[in-house]
Amino acid sequence: MRKENIRYWITYLLLIIFFILGAVFYRQPFIVLIILLLAILPVFSIAILLFFYHNLEIKVSRVTPSVSIGHDIELVLSVINTSPFSFLNIELFYTFGNLFYERSKPQVISLFANAKKTSTFIQTYGTPSCGMIDITFDKLIITDYLHLWTVELPVPAPVNVPVFPKEITLTKEVVIPDSTGEEDDVTDSPLGQLSRDIKDIREYIPGDQLKDIHWKVSAKKDDLFVKLYETNAVRMIYLLPELTKPLLNDTIATLQALSKYLLYKREAFRIVIFSVTDKTIINKDINSAEDIDDAILKLYYCPSYDMKEAAYYNYKAQSGNEQEILVISGKEITVR
């Protein structure tokens, strides 16, 4: 029995006393019958609960693994009831939230369990912001029909669903900071000076510079091909996203777009995952699209903040990295 049950006990006892007084004064068989029912029903109610609550189980049976921003997350709760009794009062206490923001106030869902059946309940969450959605189940209680007794069952494991930003394309030219490597045989590119050694060729896509077109191959293949140059082995680009709250969506989207662009350009770069609270630094080298997602997921566990460029100054002070880095704040990419 729990504290919540006490008021129901008191109400119930008062009800019984009321009817007993009625029976004492008026001595009607029907009132006596009602008293008997009132005396028996709690026993039935509690017995049903204690005998059959083992037959109840709640599972998170399906959950959307990840979504992009604006798409809904679906969480399916399955209530499995193998007992012959419906409607034992099931209450699931949980909270949810995006790790960048405050958590929700406690939520309670009152579920029904159909007898000998699995009932499914779908929760749909709207995602206006990217980040890690966390749904944590705190308590699962089963109460008998009359709310006189309560038992607690193990809760399902927490659910984490990342919300990725919408893919965008970079609209501004990005200036790559100076590298620390050799500067011979370099050429200009939107990302700065790149090595002149041709590593590979690929098909032309709009936006490629004319000077990179490999005319010979293009003529042979009857299609446009561009030259891919060997990057400088010692050059490393640092991307530092600022997790300023109002700009979060743009920051993460820009980070993703820039990362993809750099990856496409075969630049060597790393995303700096910096937590402004515990000052931990993770430099995530990006070699594939999965690495970008992985870095973003790690980033989702970092706290957000209200100030601008808090990450940059803290990172500078913490890391001692003197190299220029690309700081991403909203849609802005600045070389610092």
């Binding site: 006596v32 019958l33 005396a39 083992h54 809904d72 419906s86 409607f87 939520q107 579920l111």
Partner: protein, 859 residues
């Protein structure tokens, strides 16, 4: 951040959208919606089923109530007509909640159909209703021993038809109410309040509704209670039919509750009906036989009885008095008080030496002319008695020290009684000296209140001292014409005190005929003449009085709560011919007028009575009686002394003075004793609890009123509650023991059965499941749904996380098992158990034996 709820007039939809937007801004995520049934959009069947199930509950409650009452009164009806009609009505009414259109139009349609049917079948409904009321009044009259007062006209005499139609009519009305309490709120209390009072019509007078109706009604109560508590009874909202949940946002938490579940409701309803049926079959028969309210005597029940009787006889107007209804003198007013409610405060304090066990009357008001619903105070006719007074004024106290006349003194202190009256005992002979003269008043000439009020001044403490002779009227004695009664006075008495309004004559004559008094009157007139003071004439007159009293005793009931007389009805005639129940004023006034109708002079008197009860409860003042009584010879009691008795307003009384020719006025008691409630008419809230522990051991006092002495009697009060409760508790304990015993027994039988059939795998499975249940209960394993090897791994090898006591036991168990079996055997057993449970292959007998032993050792 501004609250999204700042505009309280915002629509629910907008509020919800705003809330989500707010959540999105604050939390980066919001709960969009909840859904059941795995996201299927179409919720129509469940919605329909929910409505139909609610209609089932409405049917159960309404038909259980109406049918229960009708069956209790044993009225006929056609079930093949009524039951389908109730079902259709319940379904139609519950479907009002199906959607918005039906919700708004439904009530209008039902109202118009209801009105149309009312006009169309008015006479059927009216006749059925009259038939029900006639039966009800008849039953209530029988129960309360009242004369049947009502006989409504049934225009259509086919009761089966009229009652059936009336049941449907009333049932429709009830179903509309129940639709609100059940479909709208699923509220048990409201459902109970709507149905239970109707059933009380029968239950109050111990009529027994049929068991099927009670099963329906109580099952409806249980289902409504459980559904109401579970909150899974509501339809998806009319506005948003796809939303099958409600969200209640509170300060600390949001509460989301899924709404209806048709199949769950159906299952629950069926389970409730089964449970109720079993309980009623088990209990009801025995309780109907065991308990009877006839023997209930407590103040609350008596008070309720009085009000019920008031209501049955006078309707709702019976509860409203036309003048104050507390105790004390009514000053001749009749019929306007529904119930006398004394305050039991002391009005008079009387100091005297108790000399007789007879009731002592303290006379105050004398009613002369009857003026319709009241007796007018008698006039001051002193001029008539000039001669008498002048003659008597010569007497002094010493004149009454006749050997035949013992005298005594009585002091009456007026504390809270009406100060316009003296409260003078009969046989008063001498009063205080006023203006140098000593007056004496006796039984002959005391005619009114105003005249003597000036003659009996009180002292500074408000105490009046009366001196009286003990000279009781003895019917068997022979009385000669008193020298104090002049012919003039006798003429006056016969002229004045046999008069009454002429419109009363038919009513009074019919009662006199019925009581046989008219014949006696004729006989009297044949044998004697008025004014004949012979012993025979006096005796015959007294016989007439006794006959009238017996008639009252046989045909009328005493009650402090008779109800008011309806307007435009004469109180006396209404009492005599219809009401037939009342208190002393009713009996005294009726007797006065009946005697006048018979030609016997009579007058209506009010005052206080000093009974043996007050005498017994009096306060002793002094054992020395000198100066209070002339001698102890005429006193009935030994060793008595001077006492002070308190007289409350409950002792206010009305009686009749009858003129005995040649002797004068004698008081005569026409009020029959109260056999029903006795002296427990007073009811105060606190008495509820004293009444709990009291039982009646009383008798009838000298006034004829029943007295009730209460003593604690636990068995009588609580016994009948305790017995069934103990039965229930014992029953539950026995059932619990049986459950505990039966499970292993069934298991053993099953194992025995399977081993006989060589289905060893099934026998092992049963043993293993029992083992897992036990291990889980002892918390040796974390779940009941684990693989076999994991179960034994947790039992035998895992880290022990349970409490110390439990851990010790588990350690002991482990040691036993591991000492008894080596690892290979354990592995082999686990393999056999796994095979038994998860495969179709059977196991050998040896394997079974080995496994059984292993499982047994694990317990």
């Amino acid at each position: 951040m501004n609250s999204p709820f700042k505009n309280i007039f915002m629509s629910e939809k907008k509020l919800s959208a705003l809330y989500k937007q707010q959540q999105g801004i604050e939390q980066g995520v919001y709960l969009e919606k909840l859904d059941t049934n795995n996201g299927k959009v179409r919720r129509l069947p469940d919605r329909l089923l929910t409505c139909i199930l609610r209609s089932l509950l409405i049917f159960m409650a309404s038909f259980g109530t109406i049918g229960g009452v009708i069956s209790a009164f044993e009225l006929p009806y056609n079930p093949y007509f009524v039951i389908p009609a109730f079902i259709i009505i319940s379904v139609v009414i519950s479907m009002i909640y199906y959607n918005r259109l039906l919700f708004y139009l439904g009530y209008f349609l039902i109202f118009f159909i209801f009105a149309f049917l009312t006009f169309s079948y008015y006479w059927y409904i009216n006749s059925g209703f009259q038939a029900f009321l006639n039966t009800l009044y008849g039953q209530y009259s029988d129960y309360f021993l009242m004369s049947s007062l009502r006989e409504g006209t049934e225009i259509i005499t086919n009761r089966t038809l009229t009652i059936s139609i009336t049941m449907i009519y009333v049932g429709t009305f009830l179903a509309i109410l129940l639709n609100i309490t059940i479909s709208g709120y699923m509220n048990l209390l409201e459902t109970f309040l709507v149905t239970f009072p109707i059933l009380q019509l029968a239950l109050y007078i111990e009529l027994k509704p049929g068991s099927p109706y009670l099963i329906l009604l109580i099952a409806a109560y249980i289902t409504v209670g459980i559904l109401g508590r579970s909150s899974h009874y509501k339809l998806p909202t009319v506005k948003k039919p796809k939303d099958n949940y409600i969200t209640i946002r509170k300060k600390k938490r949001d509460y989301h509750s899924y709404l209806s579940c048709g199949m769950g409701m159906l299952r629950l309803t069926i389970q409730s009906i089964v449970i109720t049926a079993v309980l009623i079959v088990v209990f009801l028969g025995s309780f109907y036989r065991s308990f009877s309210a006839e023997f209930v005597r407590n103040k609350l029940k008596s008070t309720t009885d009085e009000y019920v009787k008031l209501f049955v006889q006078n309707g709702i107007m019976g509860f409203f008095d036309r003048y104050p209804s507390t105790g004390g003198l009514g000053k001749g007013k009749l019929g306007g008080v529904s119930q006398v409610r004394p305050d039991y405060q002391t009005d008079l304090r009387v100091t005297y030496v108790p000399y007789s066990s007879d009731t002592i009357y303290l006379k105050a008001f004398v009613g002369g002319d009857y003026v319709g619903n009241a007796f007018a105070a008698d006039e001051d006719n002193t001029s008539l008695f000039d001669g008498v007074y002048s003659q008597r004024s010569m007497y002094a106290l010493s004149d009454y020290t006749h050997p035949n006349f013992d005298y005594a003194k009585m002091q009456v202190e007026n504390l809270d009684a009406d100060y316009t009256y003296n409260y003078m005992p009969y046989d008063t002979v001498v009063a205080n000296t006023v203006n140098g003269l000593e007056y004496k008043y006796d039984k002959y000439d005391y005619i009114g209140d105003r005249y003597f009020s000036s003659k009996y001044p009180s002292n500074s403490d408000g105490v009046v001292t009366y001196e009286l002779v003990y000279d009781p009227f003895i019917p068997s004695d022979s009385y000669e014409l008193s020298s104090h009664i002049s012919a003039k006075y006798t003429d006056y008495v016969y002229d004045r005190y046999t008069d009454f309004p002429g419109y009363l004559t038919p009513g009074l004559d019919s009662i006199c005929d019925d009581a046989g008094l008219t014949a006696m009157k004729n006989e009297y007139e044949r044998k004697y003449t008025y004014g004949d003071y012979s012993k025979e004439a006096t005796k015959y007159r007294l016989e007439m009085l006794d006959t009238l009293y017996t008639y009252f005793l046989d045909n009328y009931d005493y009650t402090m709560a008779p109800g008011t007389t309806p307007y435009n009805n004469d109180a006396v005639i209404y009492f005599l011919t219809q009401q037939k129940r009342g208190f002393c004023a009713h009996f005294a006034s009726s007797a006065t007028l009946l005697l006048r109708d018979l030609g016997i002079p009579a007058r209506y008197v009010e005052g206080y009575v000093l009974t043996s009860s007050e005498m017994a409860n009096s306060e002793a003042i002094s054992p020395d009686t000198s100066g209070w009584i002339s001698s102890n010879d005429f006193i009935e009691f030994d060793d008595t002394g001077v006492v002070t008795a308190s007289i409350t307003d409950a002792n206010a009384h009305a009686w009749v003075e009858v003129f005995i020719d040649g002797y004068g006025w004698i008081p005569y008691e026409f009020t029959p004793p109260d056999f029903n409630s006795g002296s427990d008419d007073e009811f105060a809230f606190g008495d509820i609890f004293t009444g709990l522990f009291q039982t009646n051991t009383g008798g009838i006092d000298v006034l004829g009123n029943t007295t009730i002495n209460y003593t604690f009697n636990f068995d009588a009060s609580f016994g009948f509650i305790l017995r069934p409760l103990l039965m229930v508790v014992c029953g539950v304990i026995i059932i619990a023991i049986l459950i505990v015993l039966i499970n292993p027994l069934i298991r053993l039988i099953m194992i025995w059965h399977y081993t006989r059939k060589h289905a060893y795998d099934k026998a092992v499975t049963i043993s293993y499941k029992a083992l897992v249940k036990k291990l889980y209960r002892k918390k040796y394993i974390s779940s009941r749904n684990m693989l076999v090897e994991k179960v034994f791994d947790q039992v035998l090898y895992s880290e022990i996380k349970t409490k110390k006591k439990s851990a010790d036991k588990l350690t002991k168990l482990r040691t036993n098992i591991l000492n008894k079996y080596d690892a290979e055997v354990i592995t082999a057993c686990i393999e056999v158990i796994t095979r038994s449970i998860y495969s179709n292959r059977n196991i050998s007998k040896e394997e079974y034996k080995k496994c059984s032993l292993f499982i047994a050792s694990c317990k």
